[in-house]
Symmetry: C2
Subunit: 362 residues, 2 copies
């Protein structure tokens, strides 16, 4: 809807600046159209929020991610300090908007896990079926996540009226047709953009190769509960929280790199089904890891019953198992992927495949 | 050492009775030699026991399992009520002798799990690293399992002096050279024993096919913590303990059938490496399932702290994960195995392979 895919013809004669301007104009336009809708949506739901953000917020998030990604990947052709500041502001808005739907999804995931683990359906009995601690743990998680979500909602409501957001909207208005490009942007698209896109793929590949992919591709080989990845010695790793965080961090970082590679492909309207899939797998990884932290934190609530704590221990382990399953899914897919955009990023495209619009995903 | 493998030559002319008598004589002889050693070993260790039974006890267990297995598999050629009674008495001794080493192994498994889950080694940090509940949960498990083992030890000591054991020893003495065979045993070995061995393999195959092998062969597909196998509707499955027990039962049953098939092969001194492996995998399954029950039971101890209960929840989930990993290992191996003893059980053996003695395993 808000996409402006390049045609093969246009791409063959365009400069790097033409292509980036066109894409940024489209995305900044989408941003400006979605912003009032998103503000209205947030204001309209004081209490309840869906796990999937409403359409205005979703469109806004899409545009924010893409503009930010392009300013990073093709940063060499933009005025440096402007691009850097813009990325900082976009990241601020991204984190702000993602907060509340994140809590809603985490709540759905954790309450669903408790329900599933304590389910008594004969076809799907869980290992906590009928356990006295299950309803208590469920109520505790529900209470804590509802509180967190309500707080996040207030913060978002307040920030959406802030001068900071208005300033960001002004930046986006400037982007429509007038991105502050450097001299380098006047070069041919293939000569200028391709090496920068290739660098994004290289960063992704290097980051992935540093992960224990072999272990991740062996079922149950990660031994997810017991043998977290090596923690940098300097951190000491005295406690489990920092060990888990250090274990998950490179995977979170990888997800950012996958998204950047996706958005780089979208600039030339290339399909990126493989990257979409990896992004989805890593999103599952991230959400399970975050949910595990929430379960562990809830178990430290003072004055809970041992039965409640026991159920939270099972839920924590269950979510770490989901983390391991996501790593396995990634480890299985990764080696099939080309480690570079060769064959994907051809400017101008060799065949007419470049005509298909980028798939409409988050 | 106590094996008396048939040679191909002997097998080709032997009757079913010859072969079974020879095997039973060997195993009953092993029983009678090992019994006083085992009694001495049990008496000699009032407090401490190894996870692997001492050699006299191990030899006794081996002989008990083999005699019992043969009396079952080739039951049609023995005097019925005698064979039935003998099997009952052998099973009694088997359960008795297995009790104490079982607790020792379970203790090693569970304390090892707590140590591993709470380990702070940078190369193998666990998700409970530094958790305050870990030493408490470890002490609780250690205390409860030591108590159970001490009780088991007293029971074993007492029963090893009982008239029941003397009567069983008398039965084994009778078996040496004088197994009460029926007329049918005078037939040719291949005609009489082969269909009975085949029936043991059929029972194994049928039992395995009824398991959710497809799910077990998919990594993380068993969804081990959440979706236990369908529980018979009549049982209601109101609580997790009965659901878990019902979920594990067919796998325990399968292990018995694997052992029977192994012992049937041993009668003709055939190697059974595939079955040995399956037996080991199912032993792991059984021990993890039992350990999970122990962790869940310990979590119901009155007046424990929430931190202790939380750790026990993680340990419970960890052991159920081991159960799932064992099922996966089984599901991967099973389809490669022939579902019948064709090519394994050839009486007389077609080639000279029958000469190799059966591997010395439990």
């Amino acid at each position: 809807m808000t996409e402006a895919p390049m045609t093969a013809q246009a791409a063959s004669t365009a400069t790097a600046g033409d292509i980036l301007s066109r894409q940024l104009t489209a995305q900044a336009g989408a941003f400006l159209r979605a912003l009032p809708l998103a503000v209205g949506e947030v204001g309209a739901r004081p209490g309840s929020a869906a796990a999937v953000p409403a359409s205005g917020t979703a469109d806004l998030l899409r545009a924010v991610r893409r503009v930010g990604g392009l300013l990073h990947t093709f940063g060499a052709v933009f005025e440096q300090s402007w691009a850097q500041e813009s990325r900082t502001e976009l990241r601020w808005l991204l984190n702000l908007l993602a907060l509340e739907p994140g809590y809603v999804r985490r709540s759905a995931r954790l309450l669903g896990a408790v329900d599933s683990l304590s389910g008594t359906d004969p076809e799907g009995t869980g290992m906590l079926a009928g356990h006295a601690g299950a309803p208590k743990a469920r109520a505790l998680l529900d209470r804590q996540l509802t509180l967190a979500r309500t707080r996040a909602h207030s913060t978002v409501l307040q920030e959406l009226r802030s001068a900071r957001l208005h300033a960001l909207a002004d930046r986006m208005t400037l982007l429509v047709g007038e991105a502050p490009l450097l001299e380098a942007a006047s070069g041919r698209a293939s000569a200028v953009l391709r090496p920068q896109a290739a660098a994004a793929f290289t960063a992704l590949s290097v980051s992935a190769q540093q992960l224990p992919l072999h272990r991740a591709a062996t079922p149950y080989g990660g031994d997810g509960l017991r043998r977290l990845g090596a923690v940098p010695a300097a951190r000491g790793a005295a406690d489990a929280d920092s060990a888990l965080a250090a274990d998950d961090a490179p995977w979170s970082r990888l997800r950012i790199l996958v998204k950047r590679a996706r958005y780089a492909l979208e600039v030339c309207a290339r399909p990126s089904a493989e990257l979409d899939e990896l992004d989805a797998v890593l999103a599952r990884h991230q959400e399970a890891a975050d949910a595990a932290v929430t379960a562990a934190t809830a178990a430290r609530t003072p004055r809970i019953t041992p039965a409640t704590a026991y159920v939270l221990g099972v839920v924590h382990a269950d979510q770490r198992l989901e983390v391991e399953a996501a790593r396995y899914a990634f480890g299985r897919r990764w080696p099939e992927l080309p480690p570079s955009p060769d064959g994907w990023l051809e400017l101008p495209p060799a065949e007419g495949r470049g005509h298909s619009p980028a798939p409409r995903t988050a």
